[in-house]
């Protein structure tokens, strides 16, 4: 099969499977809490319902408010198409490296925050200010943990990094272990999951992400929700494929791709199980403890960088 075609299929798959991933986490969480829970297809139904509804705009909404959902969705989809999920050598991955990926996600965050402030309600501004405060801390931590891998693989290109991990095989690298933990911590914060933010509530004092999109309705809300589901899947894929790339397809042949798809789904399922366990076991953190949590992630990644140079490169 054509590599380019596979890449496009992979991007489409990421976008289409994102609500399923979100539904799966919800379902596992419900089962862990002894509830039946909604079907895993529920997010699709929610999206369909929202797309069918009329858009209500506030009187003072400017063009930013109307454009933001489309910008957010497009930037997130572009970011998702860059991440190698089932095949390593994707042509799209050559166009954007990790730094560009972080940039794309930053664009989407920037526009969400702008839209939150645009309408002029108290909650929007509050959510925007919180989001910006936390992302200013989360972004360096995420970049630092990815840089650890980049330094190990000597490239910021995702495909090259995955190739390097594949070639070295299962080796105990303390630096990569630290980077993985830091990355997990940042991913939790960036996607607004418990213990940082609770995606299921609209409790006014604690919300971050929900506060910014409170004024959205109809297809705008659908796009934003979908984008945040894609972002969740993107982070999960990034974690499982960067740190545990085994099973990923090296060539674009159908049997290899099928195995890779299966491996990807299994790895994601394991990660989601972990996320659901964490969300069931942990309580939401106080808002003022979040900076401390994020700086901890940053220091872990920094330690990963140090231990790489001290222990793995060492003295030749």
């Amino acid at each position: 099969m054509n590599v380019l075609l596979t890449n496009i299929a992979q991007a489409v798959l990421m976008v289409l499977a994102a609500p399923l991933a979100a539904g799966m986490i919800k379902k596992i969480k419900a089962r862990l809490q002894n509830r039946q829970g909604a079907s895993v297809m529920q997010p699709y139904r929610d999206l369909r319902k929202l797309f069918g509804k009329e858009v209500l705009l506030a009187e003072h909404a400017s063009w930013i408010f109307r454009a933001a959902p489309y910008v957010v969705f497009t930037a997130t989809v572009m970011a998702a198409s860059v991440v190698p999920a089932v095949i390593v050598d994707s042509p799209f991955a050559l166009t954007a490296d990790v730094i560009a990926l972080a940039g794309l996600l930053a664009i989407s965050r920037f526009f969400t925050a702008l839209a939150g402030m645009d309408i002029g309600t108290a909650f929007g501004g509050m959510g925007a200010s919180r989001e910006m405060t936390f992302s200013a801390l989360a972004e360096p931590a995420m970049l630092m943990s990815i840089f650890v891998l980049s330094v190990v693989a000597q490239s910021t290109n995702l495909s090259t990094m995955i190739h390097h991990v594949l070639q070295t095989g299962l080796v105990l690298y303390p630096s990569i272990a630290f980077a993985l933990i830091a990355m997990l911590m940042v991913a939790v914060a960036e996607n607004g999951r418990i213990p940082i933010d609770n995606p299921a509530t609209h409790l006014e004092l604690t919300m971050i992400h929900e506060a910014m999109i409170l004024e959205y309705s109809g297809r705008h809300l659908a796009l934003i929700e979908w984008a945040s589901q894609i972002k969740l899947l993107l982070y999960a894929t990034l974690i499982v494929d960067l740190f545990f790339p085994w099973g990923i397809a090296v060539s674009a042949h159908l049997p290899v791709l099928a195995v890779a798809l299966l491996a990807w789904a299994l790895k994601l399922l394991m990660l989601f199980l972990l996320v659901a366990l964490m969300e069931t076991g942990l309580a939401k953190m106080r808002l003022f403890e979040v900076p401390q949590y994020l700086s901890m992630a940053f220091f872990l990644a920094l330690l990963g960088m140090f231990t790489h140079y001290i222990l793995e490169v060492g003295v030749l």
Partner: protein, 218 residues
């Protein structure tokens, strides 16, 4: 176990020790500081046993056992008892706030890496890469002594520093002779008893373990 794998496991243990040294600095509660200190001792003992296995030095096994009993169990337990008995305030009171302390700690790690490079070049042991980590841990223990206000956290810093020195000895030369090590272990034990007495006296004289109370009397 193959040599490469062994080296990786030892590197991993060294990285764990560095991580725990950072964790000691980052804690805000007294009891979690003690937990991390106990873990520090246990990981140190495990590392010693690993080095003993890789070097075939049977005396190191004895040091590992002493480390486990003394630094992993006895000392944390003694400190825990002291905290409970003296009704010490549960929060750690840092002089410099914690993120800044962490930044200083990161700088210290870089510094000790730079300093350790020439020493590491002289060594041919399996554990030579861990010298920088041990140096960093010593400095981090010192940092903890400097930046904490209360006597107990300062003592934990001192003991963590002692742990790191022990680790440095193992990394650089596969451990000191057993006699020396026994002597050091005994010294630490005595020191902890003396510390306990000091805590008691400081507290009865100044009604606080906060050392700033002492500085006011100068």
């Amino acid at each position: 176990m193959s040599l490469v794998l062994l080296q990786q496991v030892i590197s991993m243990a060294a990285a764990m020790l560095l991580l725990i040294s950072f964790a000691l600095l980052a804690q805000r509660r007294m009891l979690t500081v003690l937990h991390w200190f106990a873990i520090h001792g246990v990981v140190l003992a495990a590392t010693t046993a690993l080095v003993a296995y890789s070097s075939g030095d049977s005396e190191l096994y004895i040091s590992a056992a002493i480390t486990l009993a003394l630094k992993g169990m006895l000392l944390p337990w003694v400190l825990w008892k002291i905290i409970l008995q003296m009704h010490v305030h549960r929060e750690v009171e840092p002089l410099v706030n914690i993120p800044v302390t962490m930044l200083i700690a990161a700088a210290l790690v870089l510094f000790s890496f730079q300093v350790a490079i020439p020493i590491e070049k002289l060594s041919h042991l399996l554990t030579r890469n861990t010298i920088a980590i041990a140096t960093a841990s010593v400095l981090l223990g010192m940092l903890m002594m400097i930046t904490r206000r209360k006597a107990i956290t300062q003592v934990v810093g001192f003991l963590a520093m002692e742990n790191a020195l022990f680790f440095a000895a193992i990394g650089a030369t596969y451990g000191m002779p057993l006699v020396v090590e026994l002597g050091v272990a005994f010294d630490v034990l005595i020191a902890s008893i003396v510390f306990g007495l000091f805590f008691y006296h400081i507290r009865t004289t100044f009604e606080s373990l906060d050392l700033e109370a002492m500085e006011e009397r100068r």
